[in-house]
Every structure is written in structure tokens, then in C-alpha cells.
Symmetry: C2
Subunit: 503 residues, 2 copies
Amino acid sequence: MDVEKSEQQFKDILKKRNHYQQISRLLSWDTQTGAPKKGAEQRAEVNGSISAELFRLSISEEMKKSLDELKKADLQSEVLKKSVEECAKEYNKNNKIPEDEYKDYVILKSNAATVWEEAKENDDFSLLEPYLEKLVEYNKCFIEYLGYEDHPYDPLLDNFEPGVFVKTIDRLFAQLKERLIPLVEAVRKSPHQPQTDFLFQSFSKENQRALSKCFLEKIGYDFESGRLDESLHPFTMALHSEDVRVTTHFKEEDVLSGLLSTIHEGGHALYEQNIATELKDTPMAEGTSFGIHESQSLLWEKFIGQNKNFWKAMYPLLIEHSDGQFTDVSFDDYFFALNEAKPSFIRVDADELTYCLHIIVRYELEKGIFEGNIEVHELPKLWNDKMEEYLGIRPSTDREGVLQDAHWAGGEFGYFPSYALGYIYAAQLKEVLVKDVPMYDEKLLHGDFTPIKAWLTKNVHQHGKLKTPAEIIQETTGGSIDAEPLLNYLETKYSDLYQLKNH
Amino acid sequence: MDVEKSEQQFKDILKKRNHYQQISRLLSWDTQTGAPKKGAEQRAEVNGSISAELFRLSISEEMKKSLDELKKADLQSEVLKKSVEECAKEYNKNNKIPEDEYKDYVILKSNAATVWEEAKENDDFSLLEPYLEKLVEYNKCFIEYLGYEDHPYDPLLDNFEPGVFVKTIDRLFAQLKERLIPLVEAVRKSPHQPQTDFLFQSFSKENQRALSKCFLEKIGYDFESGRLDESLHPFTMALHSEDVRVTTHFKEEDVLSGLLSTIHEGGHALYEQNIATELKDTPMAEGTSFGIHESQSLLWEKFIGQNKNFWKAMYPLLIEHSDGQFTDVSFDDYFFALNEAKPSFIRVDADELTYCLHIIVRYELEKGIFEGNIEVHELPKLWNDKMEEYLGIRPSTDREGVLQDAHWAGGEFGYFPSYALGYIYAAQLKEVLVKDVPMYDEKLLHGDFTPIKAWLTKNVHQHGKLKTPAEIIQETTGGSIDAEPLLNYLETKYSDLYQLKNH
């Protein structure tokens, strides 16, 4: 077969792959945004069919043939070349794990997720334990199938953060622990604490919806290529760059919970909406890793969305949409309350100062399991021990301990580190952003976020998966992944807010 | 291959077919309920992929093999037997039309639909004319491929109302014309006309939404197997019996427009939600024809939803949700206004008295075209002539004439008669329903619609496609399709409302 023909065949496969992926994502979005309850079973079946179709396609004979041809060819297009690499990687991975074994694993994951809900509700880890054990067993087998050079946890990381290995994470997390644990303690002990009761008044959901839309528009989210809905857990679903859907939640007695979630998801969405059109229909048309994706949401939510100048521009909008809730609240009091930092049990509610320590707890446990040093049944106790050691608080139930996250029951080992990497990347990117964007602070003060979005699009968004996480960090910051900017940011900000002396 | 194996293979094919259909329907629902504007092109492509997949499956080698085996076998299950018949019918149909020709036709339809919008906007039939001519040509070819015994229009009817032919429709429509034209004229000339201005006040969309939900719940719609959304044109989309989605529209200055649409769609939805579970995953799990489907929506919207006793139960709910709009309106004045009958140009806005005449205009033109007696370029004038003859009013633009409906531009020739058949069926069913349900009027008066829904489920809904339209009418009414009940109903109701002497 000549190269041109192989190229065409490969493009056809990619198009099909893309269409099935879009369907799978639409189904997932639909499930979480009000799809009829009783239709759940059928929806799961349809999604199963599509996933199976995608799996078959990834290891199909036609895929193999066109990959073989194109790997030999001297391809001019970088997009095509990298797409071939990506599909070849997927082909190898999916080929190494026996199809039947993987199918059983998918069913196990689905059952475990259901059992997890029950276990959490009843605060009973023993219900989940046998499932977790099996899930770990499967993953240990997969690790063997996939192989690794350095550490058995590396192939798991590769699913979420390609190019980042245990040795890097160990170094970064040690640094975070060393400086965050004492900082968190100092903040906790500071006599200077914010008043926060005024945040938790009544704010109508309709006004919150209007406010969220307004903020999304302000940061540059394109509603003609997206929509805003409500769901239990906020998320962003990108079918493709012109259909990037954001969801959030509205709690009447906690307006900031929803609003900050909207900004967070908005950051994810800006990434997906601004991937270059040339990548359309290829595997390059998505975020390059979970960590870089998280860097985009956190950059907007934390580094911009909890910034003083940002709120000087936006606080009037909040007041305008509220029902008098902030009438007697000074801007400084509001800003301190918004940035309250305090150890808490639940990761998804954690503030920016304590968040990374939650991640480190999970990472150390996961790593221990796959090194063979920790048994599943030890998890509840070890979890609590580490929480006490790092955050100074000890969960009294597993519901606010090991059972709080759905990730492990969903087989998502290797996922958690991305959250902390996202923080680290975000701080690194933000350091450069502030230097590159002329009059950065003035722009924020005037609520003009156009140059920020433009900078992110230029340096991150547009590249999609064409650049690895390391390449993006290297080309933007001139260095490699580094926790220093994050630590500096947190130390400066929280020493100031909490009037700490020795930081 | 043994029968058992063929059965299993066939069931697997049906499951796949069902899954693809669900996806296609979800995409269509999504498109019409707020999907991002800029994603339209990609959505159309994905839907195209899925439709192509469904087409290929319908004429696949595996389909042929299992049909051949199962047609020979002595199948015990009626569901299976009829599913085989249905798929064999589809196989034959799809096989007779050359795939490439059909593909070109699909593209033509899609382009024509776009041109139709432009033509309507500019009130310029000449833009659409060449497209319509080609669409007619294609359909004439398809008719030849498919073959017919009696009339070239019969194969088109078969797409929407299997078992109903031109000769039946000619008889029914002649009868309708003979008695409706003078009735419409008498109503128009009656000095007793309703006052309607109080209907068109301001009614908040939020209250309309609550009201629509309330009405849907009252008639027995299951929100755990469905949801209510807004769309430009109201519709019902059934993914399967446990996921039946209703949409409606809310106009602030016309509460009844949305509410009656909701009841109409609710009637469609009750049909789909109550198809027997045993039919799941088979082609029998849908409404048996467009006409019978329309009978269900019209029965609820018109025969129940514009009934005096129904409104005696429901008027308080309307008042309760309104903002004082009906304070000074007597029940009788409200009821007369609700049932205003008056010739108008636009079919979708027509009342129950004049509606069928709109359909007859379209039917006679379609039939003339496929008989070869009418040319496409003659349509605008002939349309206006017929409107004048049957309804006594003449459109002054094509926008309110031949360009108003999207059906022809969408290639949907043969569709219109189903709307009138739905009316006829509904009147027939309702005559029996009133006799069968004990204390029918009292039930309505008390807003208890449970026995009505139960009767419809027993006689219509549960059977899905297992019974033909003719079988449903025969088994329920003891006769065949008959316009007499509809004519009696209209003559009695409108003579009374408009105080006509000679009717």
C-alpha cells in the first residue's frame, strides 16, 4: 500500500475513533446532568458497547496495518507523526493486556463503585476491602504486562501523567512536606483568624446561575461552543473544541462553593476550547495530561480566582447578584474569609494551602501498596495516621477518611499525584505569566482577562497533546518541574494573611 | 447453524441496532435542547456515522444469514417472529435502493433543509424549487425500486402508516371535506364568537415550567423515566421505555401554547413509557405508526385537554400558577376561548376544527406530484387555491403558504396524512374509552386520569409495534378506520360552542 493510501486509512480510523469518543463523552455528560434515573442500566450498556468498539478499534487489524506503514514512512506532518505515536502506544498497551481479563476488570470496577457507595454510607470499609484487593491484584498484573524500568508504580502514573515518574514525585513531595507541614501548623496556631459566617447566608440559585455565567464570560469562555449545567459533582466534558460543556453546583447557603467550582471548570474548559483547529479529529486534540489540565483549572480558580486584584474587580458583581449578604462586609474581611486555610478531612473541600498534603497521603499509600509494603486491610489506619502526621487532625470515621474518594473503587490508581502536579505546574506557569503579560496587576484590577487567556492559549492550550507536560513547562519556564514557585507563593500569601512572623 | 444459535446471533444484532438507535436519538435530543451552536457540524458528522452504521447493519451479511435461518424456523416467540418480519422488511427496502444513491439523497435532504430556511426567510420559493424537484425525482426512483400494486404514493405512505393506502385515505378525506368545509364556514360566520384577549397576558416562564410539570405528573408521566426540557419546537424523544424525554416551549404572553404542547407531548410520552418490558431491545419496542402515535398525543391534547370536565378539575391549577391573569374570567368564557376555532394560515397553530383541512391541502398536492399531474413549480399557486377553497382564506405570501412546513424540504413525502389519521384514530378510540371507563366524566371532573391511562396502556401502549394500526383499531373498536366519530365529535362540540342552528 502506498503512503498516501495508508494516511487516508489512518485518518478514517481516527475519525471513527473520534466519533465514538464524542458519543461516550456525551453519554457520560448526559448521565450526570439529569438523565432519567430508570434509564441508568441501558445507558451503561450503550456506553459499554461504545467502549468495546473503541477498544476493538485500537487493536484492530486495520489499525495495525496503517500504523506499520506510517511508522516506516517519512511523514511531513507533525500532527500525523505524533498521532501515529499515540495510537501505537495505545495499540501496544491494549495488546499487552488480554481482552477478557480487561473486560472482567471493567465489570469489577463498576461493581466496586457501587459497593463503595454502600461502604461509605455505612462507614464500613470491610465491604469494600475484598473488591479493593482484587482491583489491586488486577493492577499488579497489568503492571507486569506493561513492564517498567524503575518502579512498579510508574506504569500507573503513565496513564495520567506521561513522562513523570516516581523518582520525580518523591523529590517534589518531600519538598512540599518539608515546608508545608510547618506552614499549615503555623497558620493553624495563628491568633489572627478570619471571620467567615457572612459567607454562608442565603443566595438564590437563580442568581448564582447568572453570576456563574457572568464569570465564565468574563474569563473568556465561549458559550457558543459550550453550555453550563448543574450536576452533583462539577466537571467539564469536552466532546471536541467547539463543544466543551461545564457543570457546577449551587448551594443556597454557600455561594462561593459553586462560584469557585465554576471558575475551576472554566479553566479546564478554556484549555479545551482553545486547542488549535488543525488538531481536530486527531488524538492530539485534547489536554496533554491530567496534571497540565489541572494546572489550568487551578490557575484560574486559585492563582487568579483567589487573588486580591481579581476580587477588587469582581467583588461588586458578587454584591450585585446577592441579596444584601455582603452589605456590612469590608473588602479585606471578605478577602481573608475567601482565603481561609484550615486542616479538614475532605480533600475536595480543602483549601489551597492544605490541599497538597491530602494528595501526599494518598500517593504514599498507593505507592506502598504497589511496592508490596502495604496491605489493603491496613489502609484505614495508615490513612488516619498520615492525616494526623501531616495535617494535625485525625478522622474519627472512614467515611471522612479512606472511604471519601471514589478513585480507588474506580480502579484509578496513579491518578492522585496529577492533582498536586497541577498545583506545581500552575504556580510555575503563573510566575512567567505575571512577567510576560504587561501590566498584569492592572489588567486584573480592571477585570480584563483577555491577555491572560491569550498567554495561556499561546503557551498551553493551542498545543493540545502535541507537547508533553515536560515540554510545556520547559518551553514556558525554561526549566523543569519545580515545587519552589508553589511553595514561595503559599509561604508569602499565607504569612501575610495570617500575620506569621517566622515565615 | 442451529436455530438457537441463529436466535442468539439475531438478538445480538438487535441489541447493537438498539444501541445505535439510542445514540442517534440522544444526539437528536441534544441538538434541540441547547447543544452548543458551533458544534453543529461535528454533531451532524457523528450522527451521520451512526446512521451509516445502522444502514450497514440492516443489510449486513450477518443480518441476512440470521434472517434466512429464522424465517425457516418454527419460532415460538411472537416477539421474535415479528422482529424477524420487521428486519426482513427493512432488509428488503434498504437493499432495493442503491447505497450510493441513498447517500446522495441524504446529503441533498440536508442541503435542502438549509435552503428551505433561507427560502422561508426571504419568502422566495424559487430558491427551494430546484431542490424540491430533485427530491421528488429521487422519491419517484425509490418508488419504482420499491414497487407498488395500486398507487405510486402507496410506498411513501408505507414509511409512516403501514397498511394504509391511497384508496382508504381518499375515501376518508372526501368525507372530511364534505362535512368540515361547511362546518368551518358556519363557525366563521357565527355571530357568537369568543373573547380571547385574557389568554395573552404575561405568565412567567418559571411558573409555566412548574405548571407543565404538574400537568405531566397528573396524566401519569413518570419523571424517573423521563425529563422535561425546552426547545424551539416541542417534541418527544424516546431512547427506550425508561428514557422518554419531553420538550415544550414557553411563551410569556401565551401560556396555553406551551401548556397544550406539553399535554400533546405527554400523550406521545405515555405511549412510549408504557410499552411492555418484554419488547425491550427489539424493533417491536416502539409506537406502531406515526398515525397511532399522533392519536395518543391528540387524544390527550384535544379530546381530554380541551374537554370541559378536564378543565373543571384543572382550571384552579392554572389560576394558582398565574399572576392574576384569570381573576375576572368566568370558567365558561375561559373554556370558549380555549376552544376558539378560526381558519388560519399556519398548520401548527391551527385549532382542532380546521386542522384536518390543512392536511388535506398537503395530501392532495403530494398525491398530484407523484401521480405526475402536478409540477413542483405549480405548488405555491395550487396551495393558495386550495387554502381558499377549503378554509376560505388565501395566503398572501409563500412564507405563510407552501414554505411554512419543513417536511418536503426534508424529503418527508407521505408523512402528512398521518396527522389526520391520528385525529381519526383518536376520535375512534375515545368513543370506546368513554364507554369502557366507568364514570368517565366523574373521573375527569376529579382530575383522576389513572383509569384513562390504564385503558390506553391496555389497548394501545403495551403492544408497541406488535400490532398494526388496523389491528389496534379493529380490536378496540370492533371496526376499521372510520371518520364518523371525529366528524360527530366536531359537529356536536362546535355547533354547541358557536350556537349553530343547522348542525
